[in-house]
């Protein structure tokens, strides 16, 4: 008995919130368990007002939260047989409130009061709601800049890019020398010559001119050659980086849990692996060199201007803030647009994938036209937004270019004043200096113009990075924690108050407790959609339970190394899936190091050997994607062989023989029976005769464990199983009468 029960004092024991009032408006309501005059009450009402409901706890039989659409109701079943709806809440209140009702239900059942487990529904730091069923606040979580992350990912390629950047830098510095030579040429040789002056004395000016021109040519050639080399280096590393990203993405996707994979479409994932990685690689190949180039030129030329001609510098840099301002204004807007372009692309991809996968259904229903339209529409939508985005650039880019170009005119104009000796321009300027300045202005404005298009490539690249990051950053919700153990698995399976739903607010299995012993064969029966496949998904740990625990050999399944668990379980899924490849490879998939004898033995047990050797290519027959070239039953038998080959400690058969005639089925069963001696087998079947060898049967009803026992026990019980058996007998009888 807990401490609290001994305190006879009056007062509030625990509370929880609800948030919709009788009129459907948001309110702040409370459900309270309190003691008044020594009697326990459950009261429900708005804060600071008289309670709407006040029930004596001892009159309550059970409290339940009934999930509806977009909301839930708290309902009370009373001991006198009546029921009351107490309050209504949004889904966000369900988790904390369910802790509240646990306390009361436990009290009602046992007379013991326990402490309420405090499930915070809002982050204590920022007050924003947590993600359902977690204590995870997105708002306060470490944001970790995406770009930083990618730099870390690409750290092997950084030296190559740095070296390439260094080469680009040298080229640019060399490029900056050309106007200097040019100026020398003009001021020292050409200009004096045209004026009839000859400051070079007797020396041959032509030699000097040839020398200067050759120097320019040399620089020119050097710059080209080095640039080509640098570009090749970047291309090579960019492509390798892309490949590495792709592999990483692919690996990551393999390790993600079922729940996060099924949240996305296949087309979406494929797009991320193939296209987004390309975008990033292209960005690295094209734009990194440019960024260095712009940096170097900008820096050198700025220094030159500021030191020698500060007044002209003002004109040169006048358009810069305007451009930067315009770009930053557009940035946010453009970013969203590119996100939308991405989403539409992914949608079109998804549709394409869907249609190709379901082509048989399309053909059978003759809806090719409709599907073409559907894809057409999606593709058109994508093209539209792409065109729209391009249009924005087509207008913005030249407009900014124009603004930038204005600076060039100003420089020319005021430069001419300086050459003419206007004193406000400072020292008089030579013609050679003017040509140099004009060249430099061009040097600056070229990149500046390019910079106006930079946000677009950055927008593209960042969108792709964000999409990749979404996957790379995702913590697989099912993974080994640090202290997992790797025991030999024997096959005891125990469910302890397991509750699970694919969406946490829609439980599929509710409070299931049972124990399956090692070596037992257990059948699961129940209506379609009741949660049979879900049950075995939990045993295979494709999903983790929401509450309660699942023990294998007495160890929590979350403490067992995942690969160990996987290796101990063999499964035949309800939807048979064969990979594109030969029958042999498909069976071997379960255990790549198995010798051919074992593969054939497995096929024999699965009763597949006979039909396989009748095929012209026997075991080497290539089954196409999804194995469509085989019949449904043939595919199932290959899947059984695959599971058998693994020689598992726990064998799971989800409607594994549903597509087979009863004779083949019983042949397989006999063979399996020998195999499964001493192993735990869980079999799901609608055809009850399939389960006649089962030691015990689990009957699921409305997500709960309704019955569990041997065939005879359940028949004696005259419960759900009894009815199922009777119903099936009826139909078999009917069938035999018809014959």
């Amino acid at each position: 008995m807990s401490e609290k029960d001994n305190i006879i004092e009056d007062g509030v024991l625990c509370t929880s919130d609800y948030d919709i009032d009788g009129n459907g408006n948001i309110c702040s309501g409370k459900t309270v368990l309190l003691r008044r005059d020594g009697i326990l009450y459950v009261e429900v009402g708005k804060e600071g007002e008289e309670p709407i409901h006040s029930l004596k706890a001892d009159n309550i039989k059970r409290l339940t939260i009934v999930s509806n659409i977009g909301c839930a109701n708290l309902e009370a079943d009373l001991k006198d047989g009546s029921s009351v709806r107490l309050c209504k809440m949004t889904q966000s209140c369900v988790t904390p409130l369910s802790e509240f009702i646990k306390v009361i239900n436990y009290y009602v059942e046992t007379g013991i009061l326990t402490e309420m487990k405090e499930e915070l529904s809002r982050c204590p730091k920022c007050g924003k709601p947590f993600v359902a069923n977690t204590q995870f606040c997105i708002n306060c979580a470490d944001k970790g800049s995406i770009v930083k992350k990618f730099i870390k990912l690409g750290k092997d390629y950084i030296p190559a890019f740095l070296f390439s950047g260094f080469l680009v830098l040298i080229c640019n510095v060399a490029n900056l020398l050309i106007p200097v030579i040019n100026r020398n040429l003009v001021d020292n040789y050409l200009f004096p010559a045209s004026e009839g002056l000859a400051p070079w004395g007797d020396k041959n000016p032509y030699l000097a001119i040839v020398g200067l021109v050759l120097a320019m040519f040399g620089i020119y050639v050097f710059v080209r050659v080095v640039n080509i080399f640098a570009a090749r280096l970047r291309n090579k590393s960019g492509t390798s980086f892309m490949n590495e990203l792709r592999t990483k993405m692919y690996e990551k996707i393999q390790f993600l849990s079922m729940s996060s994979i099924s949240r996305r479409t296949t087309g979406d994932l494929i797009k991320r692996v193939t296209e987004d990685t390309t975008v990033i690689a292209d960005f690295l190949k094209m734009e990194t060199a440019q960024i260095i180039e712009v940096g170097v030129i900008f820096l050198c030329v700025s220094i030159y201007f500021i030191v020698t001609r500060p007044i002209l510098a003002v004109f040169v840099f006048l358009p810069v803030p305007i451009t930067v301002f315009a770009i930053s204004r557009f940035w946010k807007f453009i970013h969203r647009k590119y996100e939308r372009q991405w989403i539409l692309g992914s949608r079109a991809n998804g549709i394409l994938h869907d249609i190709i996968k379901g082509i048989r259904v399309v053909k059978v229903f003759g809806t090719e036209e409709k599907e073409i339209k559907k894809y057409d529409y999606a593709a058109k939508k994508q093209a539209e937004i792409q065109a729209e985005n391009e249009k924005i650039w087509a207008i913005l880019f030249p407009a900014l270019g124009f603004v930038v170009g204005l600076g060039e005119f100003l420089v020319l104009y005021f430069g001419a004043w300086a050459v003419l000796g206007e004193s406000f321009m400072g020292e008089p300027m030579t013609v050679g200096e003017l040509t140099q300045i004009i060249s430099y202005t061009g040097y600056i404005y070229g990149p500046l113009r390019w910079m106006t298009s930079l946000p677009r490539s950055i927008a593209n690249a960042v969108t792709s990075m964000a999409k990749l990051n979404e996957i790379l950053d995702e913590e697989p919700d099912i993974k080994d924690h640090e202290n997992v153990i790797s025991p030999e698995i024997h096959g005891d399976i125990e469910f302890k108050n397991v509750t699970f739903g694919y969406k946490s607010y829609e439980p599929v299995l509710k409070n299931v407790s049972l124990k399956i012993n090692q070596g037992e064969m257990v059948g699961i029966v129940g209506h379609s959609g009741v949660g049979k496949s879900t049950f075995i998904n939990l045993v295979m740990r494709l999903y983790d339970v929401n509450s309660g625990s699942l023990m294998i050999d007495g160890t929590d399944i979350r403490d067992i190394e995942k690969s160990k668990l996987n290796n101990s379980i063999g499964i035949v899924f309800q939807e048979t899936f064969l990979f594109a490849g030969s029958i042999y490879d498909n069976i071997l998939y379960a255990k790549p190091d198995a010798p051919p004898e074992d593969v054939i033995a497995a096929a024999k047990i699965a009763n597949a050997h006979d039909f396989i050797i009748k095929l012209p290519d026997a075991y080497n027959t290539v089954v196409g994607e999804h194995g469509y070239s085989l019949s449904g039953g043939e595919r199932q038998r290959i899947a059984i062989a695959r599971a058998v080959l693994r020689d598992p400690k726990i064998l799971i058969l989800d409607e594994a023989t549903a597509s087979l005639d009863t004779e083949t089925e019983s042949k397989i069963q006999e063979a399996l029976q020998r195999l499964t001696e001493g192993r735990t087998t869980i079999a799901i079947a609608h055809r009850l005769s399939t389960l006649r060898n089962a030691d015990r049967l689990i009957v699921l009803e409305k997500g709960e464990l309704a019955e569990f026992g041997t065939h005879e026990e359940l028949l004696k019980n005259k419960g759900i199983y009894y009815n199922l058996v009777m119903a099936q007998r009826q139909t078999t009888k009917m069938a035999s009468v018809k014959k």
Binding site: C71, S92, V131, R340, Y505
Partner: protein, 172 residues
Amino acid sequence: MSELQTLAEMTMLDPSKCTFTPTDGGYISLKYEDTTYERIKICRALPYKAPDEYICLLTRDDKEIGILRRLNQLSEENQKHVLNELSKMYYCPTVTKIISVKDRMGYQYYEVITNAGKREFALRDASRNIRYVSPEKRGAVQIRDIDGNRYLIEDFDTFDSQSRKKIEAFLV
């Protein structure tokens, strides 16, 4: 009735024979012809396309009593009771304005004003959880948050334009 409907043994209820009564505990019961069904369940077959048509009535343990073709065939009193029950089963406040949308690690935080008051919620995979209700891709838009709450924008075309800009990128 089509042959298919006859074969399916579909019971279309006669609205004039239905009498709904609210119960003390806050539930609803139905008297149809001579039978009284306590604590019935009511659900919409086409919640978006035709929210007030094809209303399915089920008994307390999920056996179908029948389908009501149109809600407005009932007397006003009865309609009121049915709508009242439906309002307990379906909750989907109408968004009138989106105050802010913030991106955080693949989740999005929304702050919105609804007809039921101000709400804050988070969602994931915006392009899947914000979508047009009808396949024609216009009109009403539904938002589903991470907890399973739903919100409705009644008509996206006439929605507040500042708010519209915040989410139109995700609507495809």
